[in-house]
Each structure stands twice: as structure tokens, then as C-alpha cells.
């Protein structure tokens, strides 16, 4: 247990020891290329299994291609502690609890014996280390199950040997092996060292549990770090300290691309507590280091005070002049025609336009910020020709490489320590804050903790990009949707591709299911940086598409539920075996379930309505029904959102429900009142006084229903979010007959009741 409680540095050393032993083992055994290795050579270590989790094609060993690269470890100590090293960053998605649960299930472990440790960051060994795309669960699922099953088989074999009985006569439960016939039992603690002496079983002989036999998976388990969090002991990025550390702030031009023309550096350097102030030229890349002024001080407050006194004259000759209001006006003009760029055509779209009732509408949604509660920060120390960083990042491996590139160092001279992140939502996939800290620390010559203010965080985000859709839908005499047209107006940074998060797949629902289709695109130039925001693309597209489908259903005088199910058609997997392809059967099941649980069709008083929406993203099928009431003054109350989702088997039910509850609140919060006014390249909303995240009084009730299917599991950090906004907007229509086509809702005159 001593390792568990040891400080981070000691843990790193211990993990490193296991790692080195595992690599040595892997080298010896590379010819038979087994998946699991017993790690020998650690005195008193008990049973240590090394294995690999994640996409195999990105993993490689330090000693060259082809060798097996373990990146995860399971250790059963002689004291019974079951320790699992997790390579994925924890950003609030609960991965640090979910991954060990998978191991513990197949191991038949007593959950209270399980401890989990953050593994060190080393791309040469671990390959992809990231938290994004809801991919951590699906990429770990098979290997973690097999790891647990392998260890269990070895413990059973050790017990059977001890008792001189056949392994088939033994059973396991709660970290104990039983031989019922002779009423004997041995604990995993007692068996750990004996099991370590036995061979690792052939993977093919392992029998994984069936879902009906799960004892832990699918139950509600409280997060492994909860005690640390509620006592204020959890160490987030911003909490890390290094001896002799100074505090740094960094002032950048409010418009991206601006450079420092001059600054009152001498005055700043004379301020109390200020150690140094200097100009950072930047790399010219927003995702690395923007130009600005760094201030180093003896305390955060001294640095912040100096930052406020800082006067910078910006050279904005190359800076963004982007204007949201101009983009809106341009888009409205462009929307009158189709786009020049064709994304998808099917059937005879023009003929279909002449053979039914044509519905037309223009939808828009704004730029929004990630605004994680913990502003960007990073601690960095340049010493001995290399740099060490402590970062709350979603992509430590990418961060390490970015820092190496920016400082001109080989990657092995860069060490990254992963720290807990106070929210991610996609913001921390980009490691500009790490690159800044690295450059500032190198010049400062002392360890520094760079902390962004909330204003910095809002001004220098990689925003969820805004966008516009000019839709045409055609319903025939029978009320069937026979044509789908969308002129998608988005933005481009490079003149070629849509800006990050601003793409539209030709296979986006429902274009792949409607017989006559024309989807076109126009891209407006943009300098403001954009990036992935929780359920990238989907987080905005679902609002426009699912709202317009409802418009078509209304125009056809059809029930929305029935109309949506008709579009899906027969149950089929559009690309069998491809988890990222829509399965219309799974879609219909969640849609029907959400509708049933929400009481679809029930009589409601005037001003109250139910709204339905469906979206498929990140391999997850989600349908949601919102129940809202709206008064004559457009005061809106979202009473409840009923969610039905199919993400395969549920790992931690509590964690999954928490993610869905959070997605609903995030989805409502964003749809209700969040937008960024960008003028002259600057965002107007720079703190929570003007960026009104939803507060507790307005959080709707959330009812979650999961279809526990046997499809491979996917993550649930993202796919529950996209249907929220359209479900609410469709409910508003059903309540008062007002069609919301512009987000946020405050733009259309709605306020919170």
C-alpha cells in the first residue's frame, strides 16, 4: 500500500521500474508476440501482468518496430491490493474509475481492493495518450477484459495446484478462489506470489464473461478520486508546485495574429513582486505560442496586478479582423442560392422539388467557448538541457511533441507529468498553454507556473465554430420526406478545408437515408482559431438538422415520432461492422424508448410541450425528449429531459448517468444563452458575467435509460449532448408554435423562467 500513498514522483519511479522490467520481458519474448506478460524481477511485487491497451498501429517499443509494447499494468500485491496503471488523462469523464472496473469484473476482484494510478507520459512506450473522441473505453475494452481474465486464470491455477484439484472445480468471487466440494478457499492476497510463479495462460483459452454474469459492470460505482476531491486534496494542474517556483502570466493580443509593437516593460519590472517581464515573439501559430508579454513574479497576485498595469501597443497588421455580424449578413445573402461546392447528391433532387410540398428554412448557431472551470495553466522547469512540464492536458503525448518542436529539443529531452484537468470539453486537446509555459520557463531560467486568467481563457480559445444551414425539404402527398437539401455555410482558415469542427460529412443524417439529396457548401474566410468542442460538428449540426426534420414533419402534418422512424426505415447497419456507421435499428429503438418513457402524445396544458430529437455520433445512438413550458413573455422552463441511449454495455452506470446529466445541462446551457460576439477579431464575452453558464435553479430533471446491448462499448462523454438543443427547440414549437432557428435562445427573445 505504501506505493499507493506515495507522492507523484515516487509513483513515477515505481511505475518506471515495472515498465523497465516489462520491456525487458517483452524483448525476451518478442518472438511469440504474446499479449500479456508476467513481469518478473520485482521482489515482493506479487503478480504483475503487463499488457497493451489501445490502437496497435500507433504503438511501438523503444527498441524498434515490431516488438510488443506494454502500456498498462495490473498488479496483485501480496497484501491483496490490486493496482492498475491508467494511461489516459482524467478530465472529468471518469475514465480513472471506468478502466479499472473492466479489469476488476473479469478478475472477480473485490472492488474495494482496487487502486488506480496515473501512468507517466512516454509516447515511445505508450503510443497515443489522450482523452478525446469518447475513445478511451472502446480502445481499452478487449485488452482490459483479457487482462483481468488472465490474472484470474493464474490465481485459479495457483489455488488448484495448492489443493491438488482441477481448475474447473474452482470458482472465484470478491478476490477469493473457492473449492466448494471441500469447502476450502484462498484469497487473491494469499495466492498472488504463487500465481506469479505460473505461466501466463494462452489468450485463446480465456473465457470472457457474458453480460448477464457481470457483477460490477453496469452497477453504480463512486469515482476513485472522490475522497480526494471533496477534501480539497486532489491535485489539478493549477495546484502543482515546484521548489523555487515563480508565477507567470502572459498577455496576448485580443485579436489572434497581433504582435507586440511596444510595452511599458520598465515600469512593470519595477512593480512589487515582479521578477521579470519580457516580450515573447511567438511562433506565428496560435496552437503553439502567440506573441505577447510574459510577466514573472513572486506570487500569482503580484503577477496579476502587474498584468493589469501592463500597457501594450499591438501591431495588428496581420491580426484577425473577423466579424460575426458581417458573417451573419453574408450567410443570409449566400443562403438564397446553393453553394458552389457539392458535398453530396442522390436521386433526382430537382425533379423531387417539383413533386411535393417544399419546406425552406435558414438556421444559424454561434461561436461558443469551452470555458472549463480550471483556466489553462502549466508548470514548467527548464533544467539540464531539457524541460519538465506539469500539465492538465487531454493530449500529453501531442503536448510533449509540440514543446519539443517549439524549443527545438529532441522529444526525449521533454518530460510531461499528467495532472488532473478541471474540465476539458476539447479545449485541452490543443496544448498552446504548454508551449507558452515552455518558452517562458526557458527564458525565465527558473521553474514557473503559468496561469491564464478567465479573460485569457475566453479570449484565446479554439472556439466551437458558428455556422449556417439553408435547408430545403420536400414532403410528398403521402407525407413522406422525399428530398433533402442543405446549403451549409461554414468557415475556412486555410482556404481549402473547413476550419476545425466546421465540417459536414456527406453521410450526416438524414442525407444517407433520403432518396433525393443535394448538399452543398460555401466557406467564409476566418482567422479566429477554432477547435473540437464536446461532440465536434455534431454539437451544432444536430440542432439545425433535427429541428428542420421536425419542421418537415409539421409541414406534412405528421406525428414527429412516426415521421422520424419512417426516415430510418428498416432496421439495418448502414456499414455492417463499422461502429461509426448509423444502425437504423438501434436508432429506432432509442427513439421509441425515449418517446415511451417521456409519455409522447400525453395531453399537456397550454404552453407546455414535448420535443423529440435523435443524433448518432461517436458510435453512440441517442434520442431525447424535452418537456418545456413557455409563457406569453417567452419565459422558458425546461422541466425534464428524457434520454435513451445505446452505447453498448455500460461500464460504470453512475459515471455514465453523470455524463448524460452533464451533457443535458451543458446542451441546454449552451443553447439557452451562450454566444460570442466577435468583432475586429475580438470576443466581447470574456468572463462569466457575460457568458451565462446555466446555474442550479434552472437545471432540468434528467431521466436516463440505457439500452444495454452487446455491441462494443463506446464512450459517453459526448454523444448525449447533440440531441439536447433540438429536443428543447422542438418542444418550444410544440408548446407555443414558435420555431427557433437561431441559437442561442436569448437571440429569439427567450429568457429563463
Amino acid at each position: 500500500m505504501s506505493e499507493v500513498a506515495a507522492p507523484v514522483a515516487a509513483t513515477d519511479a515505481y511505475v518506471r521500474e515495472i515498465l523497465d522490467a516489462a520491456i525487458a520481458q517483452a524483448r525476451r519474448a518478442r518472438l511469440d508476440r504474446r499479449t500479456f506478460f508476467k513481469v518478473a524481477g520485482l521482489a515482493g511485487a506479487g503478480l504483475v501482468l503487463a499488457f497493451h491497451v489501445g490502437e496497435r498501429n500507433v504503438a511501438y517499443a523503444k527498441d524498434g518496430a515490431g516488438a510488443f509494447a506494454p502500456n498498462a499494468f495490473l498488479r496483485i500485491s501480496p497484501d491483496g491490493t490490486i493496482l492498475i496503471y491508467s494511461k489516459a488523462p482524467e478530465i472529468g469523464q471518469g475514465i480513472k474509475t471506468a478502466l479499472p472496473l473492466i479489469v476488476a469484473e473479469e478478475l472477480d476482484a473485490d472492488w474495494s481492493h482496487v487502486r488506480v494510478e496515473q501512468a507517466p507520459i512516454d509516447p515511445a512506450i505508450y503510443g497515443r495518450q489522450s482523452a478525446g473522441g469518447s475513445r478511451s473505453i472502446p480502445t481499452a475494452w478487449d485488452q482490459l477484459r483479457k487482462a483481468g481474465a488472465s490474472a484470474r486464470a493464474m490465481l485459479v491455477a495457483a489455488a488448484a495446484k495448492e489443493w491438488n484439484v482441477d481448475t474447473s472445480e474452482c470458482r472465484t468471487a470478491n478476490s477469493v478462489v473457492y473449492h466448494d466440494a471441500s469447502n476450502r478457499k484462498l484469497t487473491y492476497a494469499e495466492l498472488a506470489s504463487k500465481a506469479a510463479a505460473l505461466p501466463v495462460p494462452d489468450e485463446k483459452t480465456l473465457k470472457l464473461k457474458e453480460r448477464k454474469d457481470y457483477k460490477l459492470l453496469g452497477t453504480r460505482v463512486s469515482g476513485v478520486d472522490n475522497h480526494a476531491i471533496v477534501t480539497g486534496q486532489a491535485v489539478f494542474g493549477i495546484d502543482h508546485v515546484v521548489p523555487n517556483m515563480r508565477y507567470a502570466v502572459f498577455e496576448k493580443c485580443p485579436a489572434v495574429g497581433g504582435k507586440v509593437a511596444e510595452a511599458n516593460l520598465d515600469e512593470i519590472r519595477r512593480m512589487p513582486g515582479v521578477v521579470d517581464a519580457f516580450i515573447v515573439a511567438g511562433t506565428g501559430q496560435a496552437h503553439e505560442v502567440r506573441a505577447g508579454v510574459a510577466i514573472i513574479a513572486s506570487s500569482t497576485w503580484a503577477a496579476l496586478t502587474a498584468k493589469r498595469a501592463l500597457k501594450v501597443k499591438w501591431d495588428e497588421s496581420d491580426a484577425s479582423k473577423d466579424s460575426w455580424s458581417k458573417a451573419v449578413a453574408q450567410a443570409r445573402e449566400l443562403a438564397k442560392q446553393e453553394g458552389a461546392e457539392i458535398l453530396k447528391t442522390a436521386g433526382d433532387y430537382d425533379r423531387a422539388l417539383a413533386s411535393g410540398k417544399v419546406v425552406e428554412a435558414f438556421y444559424s448557431y454561434p461561436f461558443v467557448a469551452h470555458a472549463p472551470m480550471e483556466p489553462q495553466n502549466c508548470t514548467a522547469w527548464f533544467h539540464d538541457g531539457g524541460i519538465e512540464l506539469w500539465a492538465p492536458t487531454q493530449t500529453p503525448e501531442a503536448g510533449l511533441n509540440a514543446v519539443a518542436r517549439v524549443l527545438g529539443l529532441p522529444p526525449e529531452k521533454v518530460t510531461v507529468h499528467q495532472l488532473r484537468a478541471g474540465g476539458g470539453f476539447g479545449r485541452r486537446l490543443i496544448n498552446d498553454f504548454m508551449c507558452e509555459a515552455a518558452v517562458i520557463a526557458k527564458q525565465a531560467g527558473v521553474p514557473i507556473k503559468l496561469v491564464w486568467t478567465r479573460e485569457d481563457d475566453m479570449r484565446h480559445d479554439f472556439y466551437r465554430v458558428g455556422g449556417f444551414h439553408s435547408f430545403k425539404g420536400v414532403v410528398d402527398a403521402s407525407g413522406k420526406l422525399i428530398a433533402w437539401g442543405d446549403h451549409f455555410i461554414t468557415f475556412t482558415a486555410d482556404g481549402k478545408n473547413p476550419t476545425s469542427g466546421g465540417g459536414l460529412s456527406p453521410d450526416e443524417f438524414p442525407a444517407q437515408l433520403v432518396p433525393n439529396v443535394r448538399v452543398t457548401q460555401t466557406k467564409l474566410p476566418l482567422k479566429v482559431p477554432t477547435g473540437p468542442w464536446r461532440a465536434p460538428g455534431s454539437c451544432a449540426l444536430a440542432f439545425a438538422i433535427q429541428s428542420f426534420i421536425h419542421e418537415c414533419a409539421v409541414a406534412a402534418n405528421r406525428d414527429h415520432l412516426e415521421f422520424l422512424l419512417e426516415i430510418l426505415g428498416e432496421p439495418r447497419w448502414l456499414q455492417p461492422g463499422n461502429e461509426f456507421a448509423l444502425n437504423t435499428g438501434r436508432a429506432a429503438t432509442v427513439i421509441k424508448l425515449a418517446a415511451e418513457k417521456a409519455g409522447w402524445g400525453k395531453p399537456l396544458p397550454k404552453g407546455r410541450g414535448l420535443g423529440l430529437a435523435f443524433h448518432f455520433s461517436h458510435a453512440g445512438h441517442f434520442a431525447e425528449v424535452a418537456e418545456v413550458s413557455v409563457d406569453a413573455n417567452k419565459k422558458l422552463r425546461v422541466h425534464k429531459v428524457t434520454v435513451a441511449g445505446d452505447i453498448g454495455p455500460i461500464i460504470n452506470l453512475s459515471g455514465a448517468e453523470n455524463q448524460v446529466e452533464g451533457s443535458v445541462i451543458d446542451g441546454f446551457s449552451t443553447a439557452m444563452g451562450l454566444e460570442l460576439d466577435i468583432e475586429n477579431g475580438r470576443v466581447a464575452q470574456t468572463n462569466f458575467d457575460r457568458y451565462p453558464l446555466l446555474r442550479i435553479a434552472h437545471a432540468p430533471e434528467v431521466e436516463v435509460h440505457f439500452i444495454q446491448s452487446d455491441f462494443p462499448p463506446t464512450g459517453v462523454g459526448e454523444p448525449a449532448l447533440p440531441p439536447v438543443a433540438p429536443a428543447i427547440c422542438n418542444a418550444i414549437y410544440n408548446a407555443i408554435g414558435h420555431r427557433v432557428r437561431t441559437l442561442p435562445l436569448t437571440r429569439e427573445g427567450f429568457t429563463l423562467a
Binding site: Q93, S222, I229, T231, T300, M373, G422, N658
Partner: protein
Amino acid sequence: MRLNVNGRDYLVNDVDGSTPLLWVLRDHLGLRGTKYGCGIAQCGACTVHLNGEPVRSCTLPVSAAVGKQVTTIEGLAGPDGTLHVLQKAWIEHDVSQCGYCQAGQLMSAAALLKSKPRPTDADIDAAMAGNLCRCGTYLRIRKAIHAAARELNEETTS
């Protein structure tokens, strides 16, 4: 200047009285459970108690805390580590996601239970209105407060 934090006296040197209490706690006293979120008393991540009342330490000058009792998240549990009834409820209801705002949420909730041992939903709405949770754990926060209140009242009646 002298500060009393979590029942312990601290002598703080080289700090201007106008410095927000938040930064003195974090940088000078090493009590980093209290978090910075906005710096303008909008998010509540920095909530601590001053003589039992919830305050936003990011805008409270440290001079205002002199001669008063400051309680931070590190002082919410008993000196022997016994968790506050709210901390237990937070774990029981698996409230946290990223966890960054939760110290502030807990401090606001603890002040609420002190003044209203049986809070209604409206009481919770009012007392917790200053605490943002970007992850959206509000539903669990509400449940945990109600559960903690029930336990507290059972303790006092039995």
C-alpha cells in the same frame, strides 16, 4: 499579518492587505483546495467561510479576514479526518465529474445547512446560485444536499 485558517494561526509576511484571500491561501499558505475560476466572484470556485459565512475569496481582500475565522475545504472535515456529512453525501452520490468547482460547492452547501438544516429546493437554488459547475453536476449536488440534511437531522433527533 495574522490569519486564522481552519483553527490554526498563521503569520503571513510580505503580503499587501489588498491581496485577495484566495491567493494568500493558495500561494502563501499552501491551501490549494480553494480554486480560482473567474476572479470576479461569478463562479464560486473560491468559496470559503469567514466566521461561518460563505464568501468569494477571489475578491475578498485578505485584510478583511484578519481577526476572523477562515474555513477552507481542507478544514471542512473534522480534525481527525472524519468527513463532514456533505462530503460523505458527495461521495455517496458520486457528485463530481472534473471536481474543480466542488470545493466551492461544498463550502456553499455547508453554510446553507448551518443556517437551514432542512433546506427546500428553493433554499438550495438561492444558496447555490453563486456556484457554477461547467460539467453540470447540479442534479447530484441537490440530491446530496438533501441526503446530507436528512442524515444531519436524524443524527440530531436520535
